[in-house]
Symmetry: C2
Subunit: 339 residues, 2 copies
DNA sequence: CTGAAAGCGCTAACAT
DNA sequence: ATGTTAGCGCTTTCAG
């Protein structure tokens, strides 16, 4: 094969125009069905492949949705991706996936790159240290719809898909208090990110409602990876907490293991509450109480919202927040009587 | 913003030609540095965005690598992806990611779609039920390099990146035997896929070398998801095995939990050996012995190989297999004396 | 129902 | 160092 087969090759062979071939291949109903049949037939014979690049350039739309993730190495991200993919595929959109590895600079570069690739719309979860969203202005200026999910920012006029992180933080803490725990340590990540801040606010409010004094020293920010979590838990143990509310199941599992190593019994001596309902949460011993965080559903809803905007002729962007239901899952790690 | 700014707008404003603008924006050294400066300046002022579509169409290369995964919802896949991404980004390639959800039909459709998107090269891990690779012929015909990793097929002339699955299966089994286990059950997936078949062959060979009779009824194929694993383990328990070699850490963790529920002690009564060195493998109790399966490194190597071919003028494809080192990791679940 | 002509935005060959 | 011209492959008027 020397050169790609084009619609002109098909046209020449059939002694018709390239226009007709184009229409035939796109199953345009205006074309005679016999002609269309012949076109498809010949295309197959010659080994023709549609050139999406040329088509997108001409139509000025790529049928591609950009997905900009804060990271890709987690069950949550892949669930979201699966949800987005399910909807996008059904609607014949392709996905162009980029990830920022939790880095603002990389997020900016990715946004620029996706723009130059002429994506039709964008779905975003912000990096940990992103504080402004001016790098998305070029999308807004061009009326390219943007949907944020999970990691969102408030002062921006577009659709956001989230869970009620305040309520989750509140309910988790309330549950721990109701089980008799009083010195509840909280390990979480960067509070500039809504998800962590809202959970923290929920934690504080629950303590307040239950008349338990809030102690600043029991709250620690860390990266939630294995090493950082171990160090943080060690530090907090000196303050004799009777429970840990950790906003990530992996970190919570690391905590459970560390306590076990130290012969501290969970949940008898210290309870551990996680976040995400990751697969590992019911494989550790004791099984972890957590919050079910429906990634797949968030992805589906985000994609549906985006595609709805893509199809709508009304290009006015307005603020809209969709809250996906999340659920408290109580397992062994926080209930003394179960174990 | 009504219309996208093009290089012609910049050219007009500066009273120079579009060619010069194009060259300037691409930092072509032939352009006077002052002119280049002015071009970049004006581009910024006008809000110019490079149109990758037009550029790719003209150059007949997209600087994009297609990645076709068997699934995306696992630590292994995301590690591989991270490895590929690291190399690709450094070399200024973008990634177009598709996944087949273990389905041959979807894999075919994805291959076709990636081809029409004019990807410069392709990295593939085959779906569970893929038995022929004719859907990649269009790539071979066009001399678009294809690199397979992990899930490969033999009779195809291109680069493959794998681990030594036979050796892994052999070593895991040998380890179990050396610990005194004799009735070793093997739970794995579809044996038409090289990874599972090779491990199985390794398992058989180790038994043979150790003079332990191979028992067909102790080998079960299943999907390795939670439900299927539970059913399979239950069936095998009737045959009184003293060890399980399960080719997936998640399934192995499910097995450990099930045994725990049944008051069967691991590793005292029954040992469990996994595969992948997933994060959960050292968070379960007892910690799981497993094979370290370096996804990140596989991704890096696959991407490096592909880019090497992309840069080479020699377009002859030849068969080449690269084996990535994998490691036996012995933890508590298979060593009686440790626990 | 089909075709001719134009152009999406960019870059490469060939001047100068 | 810069400009002229042509064309990548497709779709979209507009005209029959």
């Amino acid at each position: 094969m020397d050169r790609e087969v084009t619609i002109y090759d098909i046209a020449k062979k059939l002694k018709i125009s390239a226009t007709t071939v184009s229409r035939g291949l796109n199953n345009n109903s205006v074309i005679n069905s016999k002609t269309r049949e012949k076109i498809h037939q010949t295309a197959k014979e010659l080994g023709y492949r549609h050139n999406t690049l040329a088509s997108s350039l001409r139509k000025n739309q790529s049928k591609t949705i950009g997905v900009l993730l804060h990271e890709v190495n987690s069950n949550f991200s892949t669930s979201v991706l699966a949800g987005i993919e399910k909807i996008a595929t059904a609607e014949q959109y392709d996905l162009l996936i980029a990830h920022s590895a939790e880095d603002y600079t990389k997020e900016k570069a990715n946004a620029k790159n996706l723009l130059s690739k002429r994506i039709d719309g964008l779905i975003v979860s912000l990096a940990l240290n992103t504080e402004d969203v001016h790098h998305f202005d070029p999308f807004f200026e061009r009326k390219i719809p943007v949907v944020f999910f999970d990691r969102v920012i408030n002062n921006v006029k577009c659709t956001k898909v989230v869970i009620d992180n305040f309520k989750c933080g509140y309910d988790a803490t309330k549950h721990l208090v109701s089980q008799g725990y009083k010195r509840i340590a909280h390990i979480t990540a960067n509070l500039t990110r809504n998800v962590y801040n809202d959970r923290f606010e929920g934690y504080k409010k629950a303590l307040q409602d239950k008349k338990i004094p809030f102690r600043d020293e029991l709250v620690k920010i860390c990266s939630l990876d294995k090493e950082a979590t171990i160090i943080t838990v060690e530090q907090l143990l000196k303050l004799k907490p009777d429970a840990f509310f950790i906003t990530n199941d992996f970190a919570a599992a690391v905590c459970i293991n560390l306590l076990h190593t130290k012969k501290i019994k969970t949940p008898k001596d210290i309870a551990v509450f996680g976040f995400n309902n990751d697969v590992l949460s019911d494989l550790v011993t004791p099984k972890l109480s957590t919050i079910d965080y429906p990634g797949m559903q968030m992805g589906e809803v985000a994609a549906k919202e985006l595609i709805k905007q893509l199809k709508s002729s009304n290009k006015k962007t307005k603020s809209k927040t969709i809250t996906i239901p999340s659920t408290l899952i109580i397992r062994e790690s926080t209930v003394k009587t179960l174990k």
